[in-house]
Amino acid sequence: MNAVFELLSTGHNLLLFTVGLPVIFAFAVWAAGKKDILRTAVTAVAGIVNLIFGCALYFAKAEIADTVKMTGFGLDIDILTDEFSALFIFLTAAAFSVIGIYCSAWLNSKKYAGLFMFYLFISLAMINGAFMCDSLGAMLFFWEGLLCTLFGMLLINNRENYKSAVKALTLSGIADLLMMLGIIITAYIGGSSNMSGLSGLEVKGAGIAGFACLMLGALGKSGCMPFHSWIPEAAGSAPAAFMAAFPGALEKLLGIYLGVRVMTQIYSVESGSAASIAVMTLGAVTLVCAVAMALIQKDMKKLLSYHAVSQVGYMVLGLGSALPVGIAGALFHMLNNVIYKSALFMIAGFMEKKLGTTDLRSFSGLFKKMPVTAVCFTVCGFSIAGVPGFNGFFSKELIFDAALESHCKLNYLFYALALVGAFMTAVSFLKMGRGAFSGKEQLPEKVKTADEKGLLLKLPIIVMSALCVVFGIFNSVAVDGWFACATGAEEKLGGWPHSALLVIISVCVLLLALADHIYGCKKTGKPINAADHIHYAPVLKQIYSAAEKGRFDPYNWINGIAQGFSFVCVKIEQGVSFVYDRAIPGIVKKTGDMLHRSDNGSLSRYLAGVLLGVAVAAVILLSKVL
């Protein structure tokens, strides 16, 4: 490991191996294309190589600070990998090595396999680059690179239906734009564009705008409201492999990384301050609204995608508390979310491959046909619902604790909202799990039989599910070991939660969810419809119907505003376009014609031209000299 670290310890080599190498591998997998075995083998090797670098970087526990000169004109990249960024490089590498194999295996016999994996590896390079950059400008470069690959991946296989890709590009693009603005403001007030040069800026005056823009940009990347709405839409059309890799894992890592940096390092945010409350509110709203939408979904991928948004809400809630316990909770919840959410998306993708659909209404009772999948789903479902003993439980308890302990008057409200979120999460997963796996066996109409063959698809799911249990048992390894560098907590936060009361309340919420589920099942007769009594309750019914129509979708608001705006612009545009379409080309064409006529092949004119040139040169010289 030390030898590998030595190899990486200059800026050049670091860039070469963590950014350059994935790019080279990207071309390799592209070249492998539809050769399934070769592609998966290359992916596995690349994942392991990247993981070795990630381990070496993190476990050497040493900083690398260097400046890589790109050209002669100050376009340099400042590299700084401290413990925190090295940790994220390591976590990304670990997640990627598992998810990469699943993606490659999932893409077997797909036409676009090579291109998809190409984008995935470029994304890895971009993410690694973003983690390593000390200068915010260079980080933004890699960050935007990720936006490009995101757009590309959504467009693959979806050339006709490019709406969700455009939506993703618009929303993520706005988030990135805000971040760019935030970087400019922050660099202006902080006097440096390097993260290492910015510390403890106050959130007041221009700092408010800088902080808000940076946070919105960072959290928008991880899918926080109001930049979330492309994720459920993408779930409908994008490959499941994409959902597992992007909203499931990579974007969470990147967004939370920067969020923590902004909260704890670049700006100094006190618990109970306005900034803290604003971020917590954002988190609470995200987690409740998204999970409420998840509750009524009947499609596995869509349901999971709303959860992917809702879980970010928890992280943001913990982060916003600005307490060590909250930040530890947010980071641990991010790690857990990467584990179980990517596993759940992988399961959805696996079932889609076997059944041809993820619509929960078309199948049920698959436990006997797919026992391993069912068990893994149960483990991941328990984790996300926060059943005691699993990893999600521990991170949620930390966040509950942080919500209660935050020094603001709204702390009970935040705690209550978090509990409501937990309740609805449990209800929706009970619905999905029982709907898919228990009860009478039923397959989609066109599918004759179902099995669960495909080791390379199952293995990543099993690994991730096992990690849910492992991190449940050894949660203090992550909480007190890995994340201590960011939280700065003095006391131990890991292990069993300190407050028995909170645990009891959480368990009660889960039991309540179970009771609600049983009530719903009794009422409608089917587990899949168990949440209908909430869906069609008075008042909620109208809200849901408006939400389904996209009334609450910020993208539609943007479009609406844009339409009004564009009407005004059309008039201006027509004037401007006259200048561009008619006036300027007309002038250019007329000039061209005139010049062309003068070059008519007559030798005397040519000679006259030369003499004219001499005269002009002479006049210029004379005017200068005299």
Binding site: G72, L595, H596, D599, Y606, G613, A618, L621
Partner: protein
């Protein structure tokens, strides 16, 4: 030093040896191998120039003086090679190599004459960059000029003769201007050695002597501007380039106008750069050429004519770079000479490919060739992107250098104008691309096939150079910086 001495001599001697051998060998043998020998000579020039460049930097050599007439007499050094010369010789080597590759396919008759003339041209261009006095410069310039006239005319087509004749007449006028300028300088100094003229001529208080010098400067700039094809001295250029065989046009457009014209302007800048008017003349000529060339290019229908006007426009860029008067400007100009040599060679290779496979070069009659000629279309698009200055291709970097050089020397307006002029480049090339390669397949082109053998090879190779040089450019800049050049 022996190797250095040997190599620089070889660059002047090899063309002569090949020329002699080409005529002494039996006709059949010469026809078979002469072109390959030329390619080898070009390759030798590229390789040895690169090696010498690295060697110069490593051992801190700035220039190497030598002579070929009377070794032993140290004072009589007629030639000198510095790093800029070496860089230009790399460009010369590349374009000559491309020309030979095209000639392998396009030239069926007169192979022997082509080889003779090509070697003369190579000798002339090498001699020009190595010369240390204005008279030698003029002699080699005449070698280049006369060889070019014959090369355009030697295929005995009517348009070829006409183009060549126009070139001859206009160029003669240019030479007259240049020679008059030289005479005015010689009147005062009695020598034309670079070291003896320049600052000393401008220092004097005597107003009549100053007037003579100023006239000389104007005449020399005009003379070289004719050779460079800058507006308004350009009118011979499209006719000449269009009417010549493609293997010849690539030489003219790719390198001859730069060595005969731009290099001369670099020399004038070296000698009289302290005169502010020189820089202003360059600025005006440069900007006018850039824009006029582009506007005229957008108006043409003939593939090679578009490429020729594009050369006018790009020469404008290079002259604009020189107008900054700084080392960075000269480096930018040299870099753009390189990128222009590469992408213009690519475009003329495309022209050769289309001419060989389709038979017409009128863009209004072409269309949709993208599907039939993928390599040609792809290389053409890459060359276009490089010309338009799209990163990361090498055209982007050289244009960037030019803009930075202008900006740093305080000519911010000109830097902005240079940037804006890029849009015009995009206009005429987009038009060319769209008409030739995209859209519906034109009538009667169902059986068109991809370019064969050496043309296809050189298209692919040049595209690789455009991309590769673009990607490696940051490293090249760093190298130049560590070498202390910029």
């Amino acid at each position: 030093m022996n190797m250095l001495n040997l190599t620089v001599h070889a660059m002047l001697a090899l063309p002569l040896v090949v020329l002699a051998a080409n005529n002494l060998l039996a006709k059949q043998t010469a026809r078979k191998i002469a072109l390959y020998v030329c390619a080898a000579v070009a390759f030798f020039q590229i390789a040895s120039s690169v090696t010498l460049f690295v060697m110069y930097t490593r051992y801190g050599i700035t220039h190497y003086d030598f002579n070929i007439f009377d070794p032993g007499q140290v004072s009589a050094d007629y030639f000198s090679v510095n790093r800029l010369d070496l860089f230009l010789m790399v460009c010369i080597g590349i374009v000559v190599f491309v020309s030979v590759m095209l000639a392998l396919e396009t030239i069926k008759d007169h192979k022997r004459s082509y080889v003779n003339l090509l070697m003369c041209l190579l000798l002339g261009m090498n001699g020009m960059v190595m010369a240390t006095d204005l008279f030698s410069l003029y002699v080699f310039l005449e070698i280049v000029g006369i060889t070019s006239f014959v090369m355009i005319a030697m295929f005995r087509s009517k348009v070829g003769l006409e183009g060549s004749f126009k070139y001859l007449v206009v160029s003669s006028l240019g030479i007259v201007l240049l020679l008059s300028g030289l005479a005015l300088i010689f009147m005062q100094t009695g020598t034309l050695d670079f070291k003896a003229i320049g600052e000393s001529l401008l220092d004097t208080q005597d107003s009549s002597r100053r007037a003579l010098t100023y006239s000389a400067v104007v005449l020399m700039i005009s003379g070289f501007a004719v050779k460079a094809g800058a507006v308004p001295f350009h009118s011979w250029l499209p006719d000449a380039h269009q009417s010549a065989d493609t293997a010849v046009s690539v030489l003219l457009s790719g390198i001859v106008i730069k060595i005969a014209g731009i290099y001369g302007l670099i020399v004038v800048l070296d000698l009289f750069g302290s005169l502010e008017a020189v820089r202003i003349i360059y600025q005006v000529i440069g900007l006018v050429s850039t824009i006029t060339g582009a506007v005229l290019a957008a108006r043409q229908h003939h593939f090679k004519r578009i490429a020729a006007y594009s050369s006018v426009s790009q020469m404008g860029y290079i002259i604009l770079a020189l107008s900054s008067g700084t080392t960075l400007g000269v480096v930018g100009a040299a870099a753009h000479i390189f990128s222009h040599a590469i992408f213009k060679s690519t475009l003329f290779s495309n022209a050769a490919a289309i001419h060989e496979e389709v038979g017409v070069l009128d863009v209004t009659k072409l269309g949709g060739l993208e599907k039939k000629m993928p390599i040609t279309a792809f290389s053409s698009v890459i060359a276009f992107l490089s010309t338009a200055g799209v990163p990361p291709f090498c055209g982007f970097w050289s244009k960037l250098l030019i803009v930075i050089a202008l900006w740093k020397s305080g000519d911010t307006v000109w830097a902005g104008a240079a940037l804006a002029a890029s849009i015009f480049t995009a206009v005429y090339f987009l038009r060319l691309q769209r008409k030739v390669f995209f859209g519906k397949l034109a009538d009667g082109m169902q059986d068109v096939r991809e370019a064969k053998n050496s043309i296809g090879f050189i298209e692919a190779a040049l595209t690789a150079v455009t991309v590769g040089a673009g990607l490696l450019f940051p490293f090249a800049l760093q190298y130049l910086q560590t070498a202390g050049i910029i």
